[in-house]
């Protein structure tokens, strides 16, 4: 299959999840880029962030148009996110994310159960 087509499908899947749930598009996109499009892991993860960024901007703008929002309650998350993003970018090449990913997976499963019950 043509590579551009694959990228298009991956982008659309990520966009939909991201818009509907308010996040999580990267969780769909990253495995599609590596397993389906054959991208190398670190490049896929970095590219994933670059693809999700405009999607989030659009979804957030639409939510502002169509839904409710409260700047004050969002502020501490946003400030923390900027700090954490810079820290993560600085440390990116030095970490072994395996144990971290396992912990994160366990938390996802816990969340899934909580949402389904």
């Amino acid at each position: 299959m043509k590579q551009q087509f694959k990228f298009g499908v991956a982008g659309a899947a990520a966009g939909f999840v991201n818009g509907a749930f308010g996040g999580g598009g990267g969780m769909v996109l990253a495995p599609m880029l590596t397993l389906w499009c054959g991208m190398e892991q670190k490049q896929a993860l970095a590219t994933c962030v670059a693809i999700i960024l405009p999607l989030c901007a659009l979804s957030a703008a639409l939510q502002m148009l169509w839904g409710s929002f409260d700047w004050l309650s969002a502020a501490p998350y946003l400030i923390g996110g900027g700090i954490g993003g810079a820290l993560g970018g600085l440390m990116f090449r030095k970490v072994n994310v395996l144990w971290l990913r396992r912990l994160f997976a366990a938390f996802l499963l816990y969340g899934g159960v909580r949402y389904l019950l």
């Binding site: 590579q3 990228f7 749930f21 405009p54 989030c56 957030a60 939510q63 946003l78 810079a86 970018g89």
Partner: protein, 118 residues
């Protein structure tokens, strides 16, 4: 003060994960809705907005490292934008309760996949 501290800490933790592409956005959504009692519609919006500075900061470093695949960007972003608009429209018009179960299924699937990854 604590009303600010917990969200700030959650933001930093999820920000680090986001920059590594591990799924910080999903993590933050869960922390907000399950532990910090943020309403689901607010959590969606905060999470989307939150990703902008986080991803922007992370991207500066990724671009310097030359890790971005431009072909993938050109292929994925236009379709992603269209699908994101559709998804956001669905979420805005549907009752949040309707999205609970699909989100739960998504979390379980994502958890299993993440667990299985080497």
């Amino acid at each position: 003060m604590t009303a600010w501290l917990l969200p700030l800490a959650a933001g930093i933790g999820a920000g680090i994960l986001s920059a590594w592409g591990v799924g910080g956005g999903t993590l933050l959504l869960l922390v907000m809705t399950l532990f910090l009692d943020v309403a689901p519609s607010d959590a969606r919006w905060i999470n989307l907005l939150y990703f902008l500075p986080t991803a922007g900061a992370g991207l500066l470093f990724h671009r310097k490292s030359g890790l971005l695949n431009r072909q993938a960007l050109r292929g994925a972003v236009p379709w992603g934008l269209a699908a994101a608009a559709l998804g956001a429209w669905l979420a805005a018009s549907l009752d949040m309760e309707v999205l609970r179960k699909p989100f739960g299924v998504y979390l379980l699937a994502a958890g299993l996949m993440t667990m299985a990854k080497k």
